[in-house]
């Protein structure tokens, strides 16, 4: 297992439930993959990153309202909707 690799913590961060069998399998596979990444740790690398994809201001649209899908189209694909709104489990407890 790679140093500091905590599959339970990772699963929680990634919002995934893993069975014990999955935890064992992914731990082994991820360790093997991370082992292959060691070349990155050993390489002589430039200090700067590739900034070719940094967004240019010219590429940004002005922040103005425009046509959108509309509530009907959006709620039609939602797992649960009511009165033109997407419904979800209660987020805030009555007591809090």
């Amino acid at each position: 297992m790679a140093e500091g690799f905590d599959i339970d913590h990772l699963a929680k961060l990634a919002r995934l439930n893993l069975t014990d069998a999955e935890k064992a399998l992914y731990s082994t596979q991820l360790s093997s993959i991370l082992g292959h990444f060691r070349a990155l740790a050993e390489a002589d690398l430039p200090s700067s990153v590739d900034d070719a994809r940094v967004v240019r201001e010219a590429a940004l649209r002005s922040d103005e309202p425009g046509p959108s899908l509309g509530a009907e189209a959006v709620t039609r694909i939602a797992p649960a909707a009511r009165d033109g709104q997407i419904s979800v489990p209660r987020v805030v407890d009555d007591e809090s």
């Binding site: 995934l16 893993l18 992914y26 991820l30 292959h36 990155l40 990153v49 590429a59 649209r61 797992p79």
Partner: protein
Amino acid sequence: MADALHTLSAAELGRRLAAGSLTSRALCEALLARYDAVNEKVGAFTHLDRADVLAQADASDARRQAGQGRGPLEGIPVAIKDNIAVKGQPLTCSSKMLASLVSPYDSHVAERLRAAGAILYGRLNMDEFAMGSSTENSAVRKTFNPWDLARIPGGSSGGSAAALAAGLVPLSLGSDTGGSIRQPASHCGVVGLKPTYGLVSRFGLVAFASSLDQIGPMARSVEDCELLLTALASADVRDMTCFGPAERALTPAGDAKQLRIGVPKGFLGKGVAPEVAAAVEAAIAFYRAQGCAVSEVELPSADLAVPTYYVVATAEASSNLGRYDGVRYGHRSAQAGTPFEMMTNSRSEGFGAEVKRRILLGTFVLSAGYADAYYNRALRARAKIRAEYLAALAQVDVLLTPTVPTPAFKVGEKASDPLQLYLEDIFTIPANLAGLPALSVPCGKSGHLPVGFHLVGAPLSEAKLLAAGRLFEAAHGFAHQQVAL
């Protein structure tokens, strides 16, 4: 016997449609009959709406009759990978997570195809969320290589390549994050192009790794590939990485016989199957005989490409796939008593094994304490790789390598070893990391299995790559090869 329309190129079909010797309805009916005969064997499509196809064909024929034809793709079917949105059609990414999603809007490329008069023809199988190199990660079905039904078609655009090779459709769209157009094209004996990052809008492409993803054309010939690229490439303000009108002019093709071709040192050696190396060496010899200057070039950081890619791509995927939380669209678990349960259970039930593996890996390389060692170093390695490619491409016009080190493997052969599968992409990944255009062209066989060579060029050098591909294709018999199915 009826003319075998499923064997013809899009260019030839376009000529017949324009001449009035063929209608789009007759073409689509022939392809639907072909679908009935072979799709079950090959498994390329996951969805095909016959009534919709024929309605589009009739509308195309009516436009043409009225003298309102829209150009060379008028009436020609184009099949679409199931991660590219077409309004009213499924958009599943071959995942349980999106099994019931019907797209409420068109992607930019779907809009472009409609504007060109093309028929939006069905949905193609893929590795779930485009993560894989064999299409075995589809939650919907298996796709098989038409050249050998016991073998994988490649991936993630495996359905797109297999559909072409099986004569199911003359043109298809794929997406390419680390080789997902070019690797299946090579395995299925067809042509695939990953355009320069920014040439084709990704609006309506389901995001995997946004700094790498590109949509691109796939076809049975270089000419057809170019025809489709021309229809796809245009400015779009909805994808902020898409080039504006003033930035997108392609470098002129020039004379393909004058091309300077660089062969990266060591790329035909270790790990490349002898028959693959022989086919690619024969292609190099062909270009030399045509008058091209062939030289060896150095890409010293080539070994860093796979680890760099799998850090960057999984990091971005773990972030992009955070949107699948069971709230707005996609699968919501029946066990969703609290918001946390809804998110965690929906994701755990909706994602397949490879997607979970990559989300976990991406989460790790971005996590506190590890981001510097993995993600930030990968960004620096990416800068180095890009600089080396651009330096090499200042000396030569194109870099020529195999597309994939080995021919298509058997279904299930590498399913238990994700790392082995990741190495399939060793020659294709650098073009994504560096944002460069790259083309795979069939160049021979290893036994009965197709082999492709791979050309990479400087940004916006698509015309050069395609001209080089056409020169090779014209002298060899690999375009529109027919498979007995």
